[in-house]
């Protein structure tokens, strides 16, 4: 994978924030340094960087967000402002609830494991 100016800048943007920006937000940031970057390139590069293990995609009900911290970790999604917060890893769900920052109220816990099922795993 070529480390182009666009990719370097996308990574830089993601590295200097913990706000889990959307693709549009990444574009806005990247354009402050590289004004001609297209939205298509941002999407294409977020995918490439994700496949290279340098970026993590977080799918929430509010849309896809991006993160330069690739180790899987729990998130807290505010259902009002849609912001995504990181939580310390790894904690059992009960402790998680206690470990939440002051004033955060949980309405729903969603635990999703991803991988291959037995049927697909036994196929070539």
């Amino acid at each position: 994978m070529r480390m182009t100016r666009q990719r370097r800048e996308i990574l830089a943007v993601l590295s200097r924030t913990r706000s889990h920006p959307s693709a549009e937000e990444v574009l806005r940031q990247v354009r402050t340094t590289l004004p001609r970057v297209s939205l298509g390139s941002v999407y294409r590069n977020l995918k490439t960087l994700r496949e290279a293990g340098l970026v993590r995609e977080i799918v929430t009900a509010e849309g896809r967000r991006y993160d330069a911290v690739t180790a899987p970790h729990p998130h807290f999604v505010c259902e009002r402002c849609s912001r995504v917060f990181d939580l310390a890893r790894p904690l059992p769900p009960r402790a998680l609830r206690r470990a939440l920052p002051q004033g955060f109220a949980v309405s729903q816990i969603h635990l999703e494991l991803r991988g291959t099922c037995s049927e697909c795993g036994s196929q070539p």
Copy 2:
């Protein structure tokens, strides 16, 4: 909320399966009994039923799926065939891994808490 034929049938479809169908799949099933139902009605009613607490929406990287079991519980998403499997509730992540059905391989664990953050919670 009126319990119309369409809504009753959507609920029936979701109740008689554990396959977490997409809206399109629900439409296909519902049309075997009510052939004139529109996709718009399915979406509208899935939303209404969700707001009434009778249906749960599961957002995965592969799209939105629907479930008549509304209690939050962990899911296993097969990254190859996209099927969503239910897992027994509530288990700490470590035990979850052990509790997985034979032959299921986990590549990623995604824990998402939803609710309101402190900033939004302190606003009217």
